[in-house]
């Protein structure tokens, strides 16, 4: 814990930029049916940040994730990850969606190990290590999220919450510098979700990857993030940028403190304002 706090004290100092969006515009489709999903968005994220993006639905949050992972090219503007332009070469980022997308023909452990098969430097060693160190590594990670003993199960034998834990493991197994989470806990019940917040926080404090979290849940954003970005309605732009300074590790009790409630309340007002401006525009 003391280490994590120390790192938080360091973040205001000039840290390494890991993600940079410069005047990015994204237009989907062509002709009269086309629409602008993102409008002149600029954004800088420093290494080790936990960034949460909130905003009205359809505001382009997932579009930003896709830009950073290289799944989508900007119509205008530029996207840099770790100083290199995205698109020429994909960066090996970890990714988890709301739908756990576990491959049904593989066991949970094989699913978790999948990135090791793709990403260098693990890829070259995969064949040799398949049943040795990599297997232990997957099991250790599964144990951290409370899934020890489930490695040999098939995805359909697990509940939604368990699948989402495994999904987190798959996103983290190759120790990515950048972790993209697209509403990963959106389909879970309140208690499972809060439990997974704590697990994710612990994993983040341990390895300190840069995290991009897209969420609809303001408590989730405030609980997990070091920084919250509020997006405007479509076409999306960042309209608010807040640092979140609660001491880590945060607990569920933190979410009932006054400062926390004030923060989520403030976020809610910002998003409502963004929605109303959209209603006026249309």
């Amino acid at each position: 814990m003391s280490l994590a706090v120390a790192v938080e004290f360091l973040t205001p100092m000039p840290a390494r930029r890991i993600v940079q969006l410069e005047d990015v515009k994204v237009r989907f489709g062509a002709g009269p049916t086309s629409f602008l999903a993102l409008d002149r968005t600029s954004l800088t994220v420093h290494a080790g940040d936990f960034v949460a993006m909130v905003g009205p639905s359809g505001c382009g949050k997932s579009t930003i994730l896709k830009l950073v992972t290289g799944l989508l090219r900007p119509t205008e503007g530029e996207v840099f990850v770790a100083g290199r332009q995205v698109g020429a070469e994909r960066v090996g980022v970890g990714m988890a969606f709301q739908n756990p997308t576990m491959l049904p023909w593989l066991t949970i452990r094989q699913n978790v190990m999948l990135p090791l098969k793709i990403v260098e430097p693990y890829r070259s060693a995969f064949r040799a290590e398949k049943n040795g160190a990599f297997r232990d590594r997957a099991e250790a990670l599964l144990a951290k999220v409370g899934l020890s003993g489930f490695g040999d199960r098939r995805p359909w034998e697990l509940s939604g919450g368990m699948l989402q834990r495994a999904n987190l493991c798959r996103a983290l197994i190759h120790e990515p510098k950048l972790l993209m989470l697209d509403e990963p806990f959106g389909a879970l019940d309140q208690f499972t979700r809060e439990e997974l917040w704590s697990i994710l926080q612990a994993l983040w404090m341990e390895a300190r990857p840069t995290v991009f979290l897209v969420t609809h849940d303001l408590r989730e954003a405030a609980f997990l993030a070091t920084r919250i970005l509020v997006m405007s309605a479509r076409p999306g732009r960042v309209v608010e940028d807040r640092d979140v300074g609660f001491v880590r590790p945060r607990t569920i009790d933190t979410t009932y403190e006054e400062g926390f409630t004030a923060l989520t309340h403030g976020l809610r007002s910002s998003i409502m304002a963004a929605r109303q401006s959209e209603a006026k525009a249309s």
């Binding site: 992972t69 290289g70 070469e89 990714m95 023909w105 999948l114 098969k117 793709i118 359909w156």
Partner: protein, 259 residues
């Protein structure tokens, strides 16, 4: 499914088959049907046994032709299916052509093959191949083309190449479609072989049946039918077993439902 439930299902299937044969036998006896019109099952089976030494090489010939045609059709079918299925553009472009080809009656292509290659085994192999080709192409392509984009995105975000995505997600995902088509394709390959054998060949079950009906040896013609049905069931069962071993994950719902 529990073991007893499965046993009962098998028992029901066996009873149905036995019942039909018994009814057929009794009807022929009761209405004094001539064996030239419709032989009794007992006559067909005894013909099958008695004429087995003469039938056996023809059965092997038909089986060999069918399997060669089937393997050829499967190889080309998978390659074409992957080619068409990997990109949505290719899928949409090629689909009408595939539907057009698959709706050509295969009996119409036999004379063309005979014209090109003469009568015998080659046109039979080619007919078997073209008959079983299209279900495989269409199924493999559909399996690939309907892969959930999110499954692919997980790998693409990791920096996977197109080939890696295909190998790790697309192909395994298309496996159940592929095996479903194999079960149909192997029976269709028989249809193709026999079709060609009845038109232009001097060996194989199709030829035997043609000659038998020309000689009014109806029990022998029926014996040929029986042999074909048995071969068809055996090959179908072989692929059903392989499918279950490889794609058990795709039929999980029934297993879950019954515990």
């Amino acid at each position: 499914m529990t073991v007893t439930a499965r046993l009962r299902e098998h028992l029901n299937s066996a009873l149905l088959i036995a019942g039909i044969f018994v009814a057929w036998e009794l009807a022929c006896l009761l209405f004094h049907v001539s064996p030239i019109v419709l032989p009794r099952p007992s006559q067909v089976v005894s013909t099958l046994v008695v004429d087995m030494p003469a039938l056996w090489p023809n059965i092997l010939q038909t089986l060999f032709t069918t399997l060669v045609g089937f393997v050829g059709g499967m190889t080309i079918g998978v390659l074409l299916g992957v080619l068409v299925g990997v990109s949505r553009t290719a899928y949409n472009t090629a689909y009408p052509l595939l539907v057009g080809f698959s709706s050509i009656p295969k009996v119409a292509v036999v004379p063309i093959f005979v014209l090109w290659f003469g009568s015998g085994t080659i046109p039979a192999v080619l007919t078997a191949m073209t008959t079983c080709l299209f279900p495989i192409v269409v199924n493999v392509a559909t399996g690939l083309a309907t892969t959930e984009p999110e499954m692919e995105d997980v790998l693409k975000a990791l920096g996977a190449t197109r080939w890696q995505v295909l190998w790790n997600v697309g192909l395994p995902r298309a496996m159940p479609y592929f095996f479903a088509s194999l079960k149909i394709a192997v029976t269709l390959a028989f249809v193709g072989t026999v079709l060609s054998e009845t038109v232009a060949s001097n060996s194989g079950i199709g030829t035997v049946m043609m000659m038998a009906s020309a000689n009014f040896d109806v029990p022998l013609a029926f014996a040929g039918l029986f042999a074909l049905a048995i071969l068809g069931i055996i090959l179908y069962a072989v692929f059903a077993v392989i499918e279950h071993r490889i794609c058990g994950w795709a039929s999980r719902k029934t297993e879950l439902a019954t515990g």
